[in-house]
């Protein structure tokens, strides 16, 4: 199957497949985290300075420093590899071998974020606002089959899609198992079974559209064709009438 998966060999001898996440969801997660940090730090900063003056200012600066470098580290290690932004985007950070990330790796990947954030561009004339563009990180990420940026490579980590528990209750609603009109190869059987298992997640129009591809097999078009395919899939899954 054509997909971006990264298999890891486990000591049990079976390989588990991780799904590395590309730059787009990671960028979105980063923006969300940035907003959370900015608002949080902004609110606390104003509060501290208002109530504690210079003392508050000093504490606020320390807080600013800690969130700048260690916000991600804290969440990655303590919250199962997920900062709030990543949690929203359903991503998680793990070591390359699939184990949960530790302090050292998390600190490394976040320290080296500085390099991935290059180049820095000044978006206004007086140069007072310098913003990271993450160009280098993006480039490295795309040249890498595991979507690792420089920080990930040095730390030996991956950002993968976090899988929710895969509760699968597949019954074929209204399926009337019937054998296929002709013998099918193993690959074709697998394709039909997969189609059948998606029956609940596809809407009618889409299922019909896909079923039209197999009109020569089913002899039917549209939703009728889709239902015929579901019947054949149910038959392959072991249902016999």
């Amino acid at each position: 199957m054509l997909d971006t998966t990264h298999p890891i060999e486990t000591p049990e001898g079976v390989s588990l497949e991780l799904k590395p996440a590309g730059p787009t969801p990671r960028a979105a997660a980063w923006v969300i985290d940035l907003l959370i940090r900015a608002t949080g730090v902004g609110v606390i900063y104003i509060g501290l300075v208002l109530f504690l003056g210079n003392l508050g200012g000093g504490l606020a600066l320390i807080l600013f420093f800690l969130t700048e470098w260690f916000y991600s580290v804290f969440f990655e290690v303590k919250a199962g590899g997920q900062t709030p932004g990543k949690k929203i985007m359903k991503l998680t950070v793990v070591n390359q071998d699939g184990t949960p990330i530790g302090w050292g790796a998390s600190i490394l990947r976040n320290l080296l974020r500085t390099v991935d954030a290059l180049p820095l561009v000044a978006l206004d004339q007086n140069g007072s606002g310098i913003y990271p563009v993450y160009g280098l990180g993006l480039l490295v990420c795309l040249l890498n089959k595991r979507f690792q940026r420089l920080g990930d490579m040095a730390a030996g980590t991956l950002v993968i899609y976090a899988e929710e528990t895969y509760a699968r209750e597949v019954n074929f609603p209204n399926a009337d198992p019937s054998p296929p009109p002709q013998a099918l190869t193993l690959q074709e059987q697998k394709a039909l079974i997969t189609f059948g298992e998606r029956s609940e997640r596809l809407n009618q129009a889409r299922a019909a559209e896909l079923a039209d591809v197999l009109t020569p097999l089913t002899g039917k078009k549209g939703w009728e064709g889709a239902q015929k395919l579901f019947d054949i899939a149910a038959w392959f899954m072991g249902g016999r009438k």
Partner: protein, 317 residues
Amino acid sequence: MNQELFEKRFRDEWLAFDTTLHGMEKNRELNDPASFPHAYRRLCKHLALARDRQYSVHLVNELNAMAKRAHSYLYKSQQFTVHKALRVFTHDFPQAVRKNAGLFWLSSLLFYGPFFAVIIAINQRPELAYSFMSDYQITTIEEMYDPNTPKDRGAAEDVMMFGFYIQNNVGIAFRTFASGLLFGVGSVIILLFNGFAIGSVAGHLIEVGFQDTFLRFVCGHSPFELTAIVLAGMAGMKLGFSLLLPGNHSRRRKMMETAHGLLPVVYGMGVMLVIAAFIEAFWSPRTLTAALKYGFSGFFWLLLAAYFLYSGRENEN
């Protein structure tokens, strides 16, 4: 065995295992720890069978997802202990510095070289100071270190400066380290730049005769701060050169090993800079006798030298 029979036979077992995993995730407890590895191995066997017999993608994904969860619990990395943390500072940090002694001296050269060169140059030609700093900067530092204007700031302002020094200096040190990834170039540039910058400040203040106030202020935190800058540059260069000269390993592997090996240095320099910030905010501004100030400073220079030379030598090969 076809897929349906396979699922029917083992569905209960998988459900039970899923409940166990769920219990671990939510409540962090495990009823029967001894049986967990056995159950996990059986799951792996089922996953391997399902893949081998080319059962449906959804079944394989389901078992794969459960196996991944279990894998991450079984092979969770070692947790933080105070003992290990202390060991970093008694052994790992000084050992790492000694291991990279060559780069340490190179880094020192790249920093102190420009530093002293600029001081001497300004001594010969005082107007050079204006090439390194803007008029505004020069007036600022002159005002800061003028012995005739008394300065006393309250405790609250000290805390403000403490926060500022932490945020500023540790940030710079981290960036020095990180930018070393660009084949070491970033770190070299930052070392040279800081050498010139600090040297020009020192050089100009010596020229206008404010050296006494200046030295009394900076001597307290210099041992920690300057050494930390040099260490940051050393670590950055080590990282960058590991990419250039990977030896027998692939570049990626070498970079990963070097980066993890440099972690004690990162921790050490962070702590040193926090100490320096503390001294700079609370001790350095106090007007005390020269003997006390220089004595304090000298003591810490010697202490640091002894620390890096002798600490953690017992089991070093």
